[in-house]
């Protein structure tokens, strides 16, 4: 659990990295999970909340035998990454809008992503080991 401040994000990503390293020796997997959490949380901080508001984002990561599950909860406005149109790389303006490239990267790297909205967004992600 941490506040919606980008300076806290670096610490979160480092914690994720060390958690994954404890449960997998696959460097590629460490990179994948780290990047997915980084991109989603950055998007929530940048686009989900007003800058002056202090809010909480909850990131829960669990390791199972063959997969990692990641749950990310916020109380920001509705945003479902799966409904997001993928950007046209030739039009960079599209990439700057609502973190188009970050969402695109996330969708490339997750094996499953479910979205629900109950007073905030709940993202349930699966990444297989």
């Amino acid at each position: 659990m941490f506040n919606n401040d980008l300076t806290n994000l670096t610490m979160l990503v480092k914690n994720i990295e060390s958690f994954i390293q404890q449960h997998s020796e696959n460097a590629k997997l460490v990179y994948k999970v780290q990047l997915v959490v980084d991109e989603i949380v950055t998007n929530i901080i940048k686009y989900g909340y007003k800058k002056e508001e202090e809010n909480t984002i909850i990131v829960n990561i669990r390791s199972f035998q063959n997969l990692f599950t990641i749950t990310i909860k916020d109380n920001a406005k509705y945003f479902n990454p799966m409904e997001h149109t993928l950007p046209d790389l030739n039009k960079h303006k599209e990439l700057k809008k609502t973190g188009g490239l970050g969402i695109f990267m996330t969708r490339q790297y997750v094996d499953k992503l479910d979205h629900d909205y109950q007073n905030g967004n709940i993202l349930k992600i699966k990444i297989y080991k």
């Binding site: 460097a27 590629k28 990179y31 990047l35 980084d38 790389l89 960079h92 490239l101 970050g102 990267m105």
Partner: protein, 105 residues
């Protein structure tokens, strides 16, 4: 922190950290170096990724944006000594097609 050096016809940008991460929090540093080299009229720019262990979408976005500006100016922007894991981010996002990759020069 970045250093800039010349080799043959190329200008090479290098990150001085051992395990460098190019991300939202620090992308303005690289962006500034690239902007200065563009303004100086450099025609062949290489970014050395040897020490780069991580790049996020903000980093890729700046590189893509710079690449487009440079291309319009007939300037080449290449990536040098990239690791397999970081290269995969470029290929997964289909951004690799916009860059030339060099093992070494």
């Amino acid at each position: 922190m970045y250093t800039v050096e010349r080799k043959d016809n190329y200008v090479i940008i290098r990150n001085t950290q051992n395990r460098a991460e190019i991300e939202f929090n620090n992308i303005s540093e690289l962006s500034e170096v690239l902007k200065n080299l563009m303004e100086e009229g450099e025609k062949k720019i290489l970014i050395d990724f040897k020490n780069v262990v991580y790049i996020d979408s903000a980093g890729l976005g700046v590189l893509l944006d710079t690449m487009k500006k440079l291309k319009a100016n007939e300037t080449e922007l290449g990536i040098l000594s990239i690791s397999k894991d970081v290269l995969e981010v470029f290929t997964a996002t289909k951004i690799a097609q916009y860059f030339k990759f060099y093992k070494n020069i």
